[in-house]
Symmetry: C2
Subunit: 371 residues, 2 copies
């Protein structure tokens, strides 16, 4: 199957930019759409520096109904969308839920309506392990398989869940309506992937591309990176009395390059196999405790990083680890990067880009890429 | 507590119009907003003929962001909304899910945003027993209590579920944000009722007000009414091999006047008790089989109505009956009308208004009201 054109909505963000890179490297033409609310178009320059290919950029607001129409009209060769454009801070979603419903839910309704109008028939959706909620209520389902009943416990997760049902309902309707009209070929064209991630980690091994969060980061590794650079005094460890081997909570950290590869493989699978709507977990299946992460990142940095134990946070659970057997079996996807590599890549990115994308990377890193 | 002004969104529809009547009779000022897509403003004239009071009418599109703002700006005395404005055909929702996500989900996001902007702090939402999905998966939860895990099985139900989470998240956020700001009084003002109905039935005993569905009705009693008037040859009974005493499926039919009273009581409860968000089932707790309904409506009509048994429909379940103890205990709500009365009222309405609201009711019915 020949590679077509792909719209990556939210393509300048962390996972979006690495997926854009993976798509370009695989030969896809890519149009990136983003509102640049929490990201920088500079990511696209870094992508070009790495792979020598350029994604087209369109600034776009997902809550503006006409914006997607304009993109699809200008690019009739787009047949697929990878949809990252969303707000993603769990804590903020509790304070400003309507922003999350507007951008995440209504934004996706807009996208789907425009896709239907323009016959853009494949969608890969950036969902989240958050849709499982407190998966520890099903003790025989750890690591979590896709069959685990969903039950998000915060507004962010509720919006991801609502979008999963919207995509499922729309793809199913497009298929059923086509079948009723006797058009099996049309039915097969409509496909959706719901990708549920665990904890994305790491950066590009070149050191010129990584996560560039605005404001206070809310994930363990970016916080550790700030401790390493001195922006933050110490890491707070929330709870050391969990039932893990060292008392700290277990999460499933996945290298961003492996995660991006999962998106590419999901898109290829949709286009080649026409499965309709299907959910896949993207994780390593291997859990790491907070203390193990501190040790791993300290090793990459070359010195012990300070931390302090604080009480557990409400809503945190012992273990969130993916059963990713379905992705391995069906998509042929297996994460190949280690946690150590994620830590080394993150540290290379962090120490060389103290201002993130707001300053040019060191010339020697760019020079290495050209070899 | 003095009665304030209430916006009834979708107030010319079946349940909306009867709730408007109940509110006016209870002394509330009512503004009805509707797009008249599947209803008639004539309902408001009938309401006035019955209770001598008039609701103000505004034509409005819930998907138009500015429309709610205009209503709240024109009526600063509105402090509560009862929200019925939605598409409601389960079958159609499978064919046109995006219409359902736009009107039901995005429409409610618009409403909530406008409520927050204008400090309109109480919402009573017209949800549905559909949010429980196939409740027979929890055999010890029949009749269904509000604690039953939710799991809708069609796009209509998915949109009702998404709206329940949106209302819950927004009310909780308004409360938590106010508490963080030290304003307990402001926090208590934000309240939401999620009303999950079972099968609304019947009409006003005056015979001048009832359900006026456009197109093919999809509920048992309106279909039986069409058989009685000769518009339809016979009723199709889908499945007579269920595990009920006569083999047909069991549903919980609730008189529309009782249902409307439940909305009034829920609104009063929100205003008096400030519970935050709370779900209540509105049903009788008593199940009736399809055969029992045919007999009851045949008795009201005075002759046996023809029916034919067909295979079960996919997705139908044996028993959907409400456990409405919570509404009885907390709202002081107890349905008082019998199934026989619902059938008699429906037949009086049907035979006297063969064109629904598109023709004036018989003068003798209006004359009776004036006594």
């Amino acid at each position: 199957m020949s590679a077509g054109s792909v719209l990556v909505a939210g393509g300048t963000g962390y996972i979006g930019s690495f997926t854009t890179l993976a798509l370009l490297e695989a030969g896809y033409k890519v149009v990136v759409a983003d509102n640049l609310y929490n990201s920088s178009a500079e990511a696209l320059n870094r992508i070009e520096a790495i792979c020598g290919k350029k994604a087209e950029f369109v600034q776009l607001d997902v809550t503006n109904e006409a914006d997607f129409d304009k993109v699809f009209e200008a690019h009739p060769d787009i047949d697929s969308v990878i949809h990252f454009a969303a707000l993603k801070a769990v804590g903020e979603s509790g304070e400003k839920p309507l922003d999350y419903y507007m951008v995440n839910v209504y934004g996706t309704i807009n996208l789907l309506r425009s896709m239907v109008r323009h016959n853009v028939t494949n969608i890969v959706f950036s969902s989240s392990a958050t849709v499982y909620g407190d998966a520890t209520r099903f003790p025989n389902m750890i690591p979590i398989p896709e069959e685990c009943p969903l039950g998000p416990t915060n507004p962010y997760g509720n919006t991801k869940f609502a979008v999963e049902t919207a995509i499922t309902d729309v793809i199913n309707a497009q298929r059923n309506n086509a079948i009723k009209a006797g058009n099996e070929a049309e039915a097969k064209k409509w496909n959706g992937a719901l990708l549920r991630y665990f904890n994305p980690a790491g950066a590009h091994p070149s050191g010129i591309m990584g996560e560039d969060p605005q404001g206070v980061p809310y994930n363990l590794l970016p916080l550790l990176a700030q401790v390493a650079t001195g922006k933050r005094e110490k890491l707070m460890v929330f709870g050391d009395d969990y039932a893990s081997h060292d008392g700290t909570a277990i999460r499933d950290y996945i290298h961003i390059l492996d995660l991006a590869d999962g998106h590419l493989k999901a898109l290829n699978y949709l286009r080649a196999n026409n499965p309709g709507v299907r959910a896949w977990n993207l994780g390593t299946g291997k859990g790491s405790t907070v203390y193990e992460m501190i040790r791993a990142f300290s090793a990459a940095v070359g010195r012990d990083l300070p931390y302090e134990v604080a009480p557990r946070r409400a809503g945190d659970v012992l273990n969130l680890t993916a059963n990713a057997n379905r992705a391995t079996k069906e998509l042929g996807w297996t994460p190949t990067r280690t946690l150590e590599q994620a830590c080394e890549d993150l540290w290379l990115w962090t120490k060389n880009n103290p201002q993130g994308y707001r300053q040019q990377p060191p010339a020697e890193l760019l020079a290495k890429l050209k070899k």
